[in-house]
């Protein structure tokens, strides 16, 4: 069966021709190269290098960035790319999110002209992989209290500390690392061969198995002076990266949900129990109808957010709502799809349990579901409730 993306309200008809062409390009690639190989990649716990090469060749890395050999697409196109990649696997979309929104974007927005010229073209082509070091073992939702620090020496900086849950870490050529310099959060570019830097891989994940997750360890790590990002100070730096990545996730989750819906519908129509396809039973139809309803709402949310992002009329809370909602429904859709597949749903012959396990991570990373609730709570009431100090 060839993939038919659920698009009940024909939201994709609102896309520009260019956005639709990009969609078809990525969708075809995912069909031909990702889906036949994803289970193997998960089993081996690797991110296939051919995928890095192909993403670079297609020219989708750093999609919405302009200049420096970057694609220069709309944010909506970036969303569409994330959706199509995540229809394949959340780990694949994570790779692209981290490369584009978390590693390329801060260099593009806050880097010096020399840094942009040096890094961005090779990152857009996929030749260099980037990662993003913000989260620490003891500071996840609360990055402001991070421990990693930088000291300014005569002709270099010294970094000390550790980051955790870093996508692409071990395979990265460079890391954008957030550390405190004289108590103020600053961004630094650390290259893989810098002395005192290592990036051991974290093993044993039950989720995002085709994605590399690492620790970043800095032990008197020495980097040249020109590696500080001059354009930003404080949490605004990492948060602006996260806004873009979260935007991509709000689209990406729809891709995973569409894949689960598609598999569940196909399975329900072909699985015969009590002499009839299970799709003919009301309980199953109720599940499919609910899936269609939630996917359709998520699509409208993502599309409208894309328009706001492209028009520059957005606030971070808009993105929080979309990330929180769309991942939440995608995860629930994956669970229900697994249920419709019965015992077969636990096999790797069907994509549903892989998506389900992946989405558990997606729910937690880039601002947990609950943190996004608190962001919206603060927006509604004007009262922050992250800490006890009110």
């Amino acid at each position: 069966m060839d993939y038919e993306a659920l698009d009940f309200y024909e939201v994709d008809s609102l896309l520009s021709d260019e956005e639709r062409m990009v969609r078809d390009m990525v969708r075809d690639w995912v069909d031909e190269e990702v889906i036949p190989n994803i289970e193997n990649a998960c089993r081996e716990g690797i991110f296939p290098d051919e995928w890095r090469v192909a993403l670079g060749e297609m020219g989708v890395l750093g999609a919405p960035l302009k200049g420096y050999d970057c694609p220069g697409l709309s944010y909506t196109a970036y969303g569409v790319i994330c959706r199509e990649l995540e229809r394949g696997d959340s780990g694949l979309r994570s790779f692209a999110s981290v490369q584009g929104s978390l590693a390329m974007y801060p260099i593009w927005d806050f880097g010096s002209e020399e840094q942009k010229m040096h890094y961005l073209p090779k990152m857009a082509s996929g030749e260099w992989i980037g990662c993003f070091g913000l989260t620490e073992p003891d500071y996840g939702s609360n990055p402001g209290d991070m421990i990693t620090k930088a000291e300014e020496m005569e002709d270099h900086y010294i970094l000390n500390g550790a980051k955790m849950w870093i996508t692409n870490g071990t395979m990265a050529d460079l890391a954008v690392v957030w550390a405190k310099l004289d108590g103020v959060i600053r961004g630094f570019i650390v290259e893989k061969n810098d002395p005192g830097f290592s990036a051991p891989e974290m093993k044993g994940k039950h989720s995002l198995k085709a994605s590399v997750t690492s620790e970043l360890v800095f032990q008197d790590c020495k980097i040249p002076k020109d590696r500080i990002l001059p354009g930003v100070k404080g949490l605004r730096g990492p948060f602006s990266c996260l806004n873009n990545a979260r935007f991509g996730i709000s689209w990406g989750a729809i891709g995973a949900a569409q894949a689960c819906f598609y598999s569940a519908k196909d399975y329900a129509l072909s699985r015969i129990q009590f002499d009839h396809p299970i799709a003919s039973y009301q309980l199953v139809q109720n599940k499919l109808s609910w899936m269609l309803r939630e996917i359709t709402k998520a699509q409208l949310l993502a599309y409208h957010l894309g328009q706001k992002k492209d028009d520059g009329k957005w606030i971070p809370e808009h993105i929080s709502l979309a990330k929180m909602n769309n991942v939440d429904i995608a995860l629930e859709i994956a669970r229900v799809a697994r249920d419709i597949h019965g015992a077969n749903g636990i096999l790797d012959e069907y994509p549903v349990m892989r998506h389900m396990a992946n989405l558990e991570s997606v729910k937690t990373y880039e601002g947990t579901h609950d943190i996004h609730n608190l962001i919206l709570g603060r927006h509604i009431t004007g009262i922050q409730s992250f800490t006890r100090e009110i």
Binding site: M1, D2, E39, D266, Y267, S270, R271, I272, N344, L347, D348, E349, Y350
Partner: protein
């Protein structure tokens, strides 16, 4: 209304399709002029009922296949509605003759009635269309879609010598053992499952596949347990295929396998177990062991070619 048939050849003999072309035109009440390129098969053709006369067109232009040269030579003796086989060569010659005569061509016709009205499949058989043709045209008929004409005639044979320019030169013939097709591109697939007993028994499927020009596929169990190449696997995690004919041998038909092949146009299943789920999707099911069924199936198929 006059009909000219271009005989389809199989080496020096008439291809069985030629009988069908003549049969189809007889069926709508007309006799045909039959053109035999390079004279081959002309005396055989003169004995077929429904043939008015044979024109044997001779010339060196028939020494190798150049559609344009063949069409030029044949065109000179055509009249009325021109009928050819929807084989690759028939289609090409027909197209060129149609262009020469500035008349339309309808290819791959599966039914014809007087008037004339033709039916052809469109969208790979997902629909059919019926067309009324005004005036002369070229039509090519699908092999095996029409009844063959019978023998019992003695039509006159005339011989015409023709020359025409050959613009295609063969510079190198590359002989190769026919490679077995990949399951994703084959029009016929013969797949084996655990019921084949062991990987060695796949040789029986392979020899049958060679008879049919088919690809050999396998179920997941066989790929996982016996180490058949993954590219042969048909099913949920293997290839999704939709050939014209899918023959499942010793495959029980788990839902994961059915997901990969149920859109095949025709499905034949051979399985010992009458309750095997594969029979729920089969057009023709044979409840028997493969050891019994394959030799008979193979000999029946051999009779056709």
């Amino acid at each position: 209304m006059r009909f000219t048939i271009i005989a389809e050849m199989n080496g020096d003999l008439l291809h069985p399709t030629t009988y069908q072309l003549i049969g189809a035109i007889s069926e709508i009440g007309s006799e045909s002029i039959v053109i035999c390129p390079n004279g081959k098969g002309s005396s055989e053709a003169s004995k077929i009922k429904g043939v008015e006369k044979i024109i044997s067109v001779n010339g060196d232009c028939f020494d190798l296949f150049d559609g344009s040269a063949w069409a030029s030579a044949i065109n000179s003796v055509c009249e009325g509605t021109i009928v050819a086989s929807a084989s690759p060569n028939g289609r090409e010659i027909g197209s060129i003759i149609a262009a020469k005569r500035k008349i339309p061509i309808i290819q791959d016709v599966t039914a014809i009635s007087s008037g004339i009205t033709v039916t052809r499949p469109i969208y790979s058989g997902k629909a059919t269309e019926t067309l009324k043709i005004n005036g002369d045209s070229v039509i090519t008929l699908r092999p095996n879609a029409f009844e063959s004409a019978e023998v019992g005639n003695d039509a006159p044979i005339s011989i015409v010598d023709q020359t025409s320019d050959v613009r295609v030169a063969v510079i190198e013939a590359i002989n190769k053992a026919s490679e077995r097709l990949d399951v994703t591109e084959a029009d016929i697939i013969i797949s084996g499952g655990r019921g084949m007993g062991s990987i060695d028994n796949f040789s029986h499927l392979e020899s049958m596949a060679d008879t049919l020009g088919a690809a050999v596929g396998a179920s997941r169990a066989v790929v996982d347990e016996w180490g058949m190449p993954h590219r042969m696997q048909v099913g949920q995690t293997g290839k999704t295929v939709s050939p014209s004919l899918y023959i499942a041998v010793g495959i029980s038909g788990a839902i994961q396998h059915l997901a990969g092949m149920r859109s095949s146009k025709y499905i034949v299943a051979i399985n010992k177990d009458p309750d095997a789920p594969i029979f729920t999707v089969a057009d023709y099911g044979i409840v028997a062991s493969w050891e019994e069924a394959l030799p008979i199936l193979k000999s029946e198929l051999m009779k056709l070619s």
